[in-house]
Symmetry: D2
């Protein structure tokens, strides 16, 4: 199994039991180890009181891309922190795309950036997350 | 209408159309203007691939408390950024409680902290959000 | 040596070789283990192009309070991240006071908040830092 | 005056009165509007108690690059927040280089990222700052 195959096997293993991402209709693509693309259509049950997508769900999409990016190495990692900057409102039926990239990977912790764009390729949010390894296998979890 | 009544009227107005918070089963309480308490039970569709609550949904709970806290003044505000530090894993059926407090309120922007605890009163996350006013009424929105 | 004595011994040991804090005229007080107070007068060489204190030096003061707070246990820790929210401008000759408090202390990492006030007790900045242990002694360093 | 000339004129104007950056030996270069490069050699008076550069001064360097990047448009802006992730220790005599790039520029606020590398081109820190306009001229300030 090469590195990309392993990254995709980890993603498949995670996604199969990730009821939260499934329930939100999030789909995952792994272009290369350390990166992940998560897409989500903004549904009626994702809209808040100002008729825009709940910012927490935009964060959730970015955080999902981050989680799949940092678990590419069969070393189970979890988020220790996340930060999001909201740039533009997101509306009902928008299709969001979060692209997570690895900025740094140390022995136990890593940093990942995710950009979230809408269907017009406009930036709607910028995310950064810090991961920490739990020293377990993803594939054997 | 005194200040607390106005804060609660704003919250009621927001909650009535906040399908996202409703869909997540989040309930809101307004103890005083500038503060809000949001509670959520972790359901099966909130759990991720490692059998713990998706961190994005913990963020969403804290972000919801923040949103209700900062909209207490009938001055419509939205989040410009949010940061979360994850302290402990959250499990299926845990009942989370996010308490948002106002740290600073300027002419156009504000800072709010939210602590998230579980049913054992253990801290599971610390959140901070920055709000920005849109110069519109909440009650007339 | 009780816990407060140990915290103060660690602070003394750190301060003695902390040329950066000394050069900035920062003074340290340890009210209890896990907390620290750092004070600094804004000098002419700390002012930026808009005639206000360089934000980096306000961060540096808060970060210093944080560093002394998290090294109270004779377990050498360093900052893994820091975030600051600037609330008010700081002027020449202002006397700033950063009070750092422990929000969470896990086995290897901790979270600390620091509030920075000026001589009028107005908040000028809010800081949060994450520490990580290096598994060494402070007193024997 | 074209855009690059204006950006450089703003930087010159700021630097001339920026005693803080001068005192730290920080030098500035403006490769294009919205970007800035700040360099600094780690002096004896920048080292902390663990014999590594005070993290606050690494932040200060990144924050300086950010400040010069976001003031390129003759629209005076100040930082409303900053976040730094520390990746590697920085030692005495290291030469640090912070490169700030514009991530987003809205009508009143902007986001800027800065990467800090040492003389071996190793990442030592990642920074992100949010700017807010004060609606004044830089050149006439």
């Amino acid at each position: 199994m090469d590195k990309l195959e392993r990254a995709r096997a980890c993603a498949d293993r995670m996604y199969a039991s990730d009821k939260a991402s499934q329930a939100l209709g999030i789909e995952i693509e792994i272009p290369e180890p350390g990166s992940a693309i998560a897409t989500m259509r903004v549904r009626e049950d994702m809209v808040n009181g100002f008729n825009i997508c709940h910012g927490g769900l935009v964060f959730t999409l970015a955080d999902t891309a981050f989680a799949f990016a940092c678990n590419a190495y069969d070393d189970l990692t979890v988020a220790s922190s996340g930060t999001i900057e909201f740039l533009r409102p997101v509306y009902l039926d928008d299709v969001l795309r979060a692209v997570a990239l690895e900025e740094h990977r140390g022995s136990r912790s890593g940093l990942y950036a995710a950009e979230v764009v809408n269907q017009h390729d406009e930036f709607v949010a910028l995310f950064r997350g810090r991961s920490v390894s739990r020293g377990e296998s993803v594939l054997d979890a």
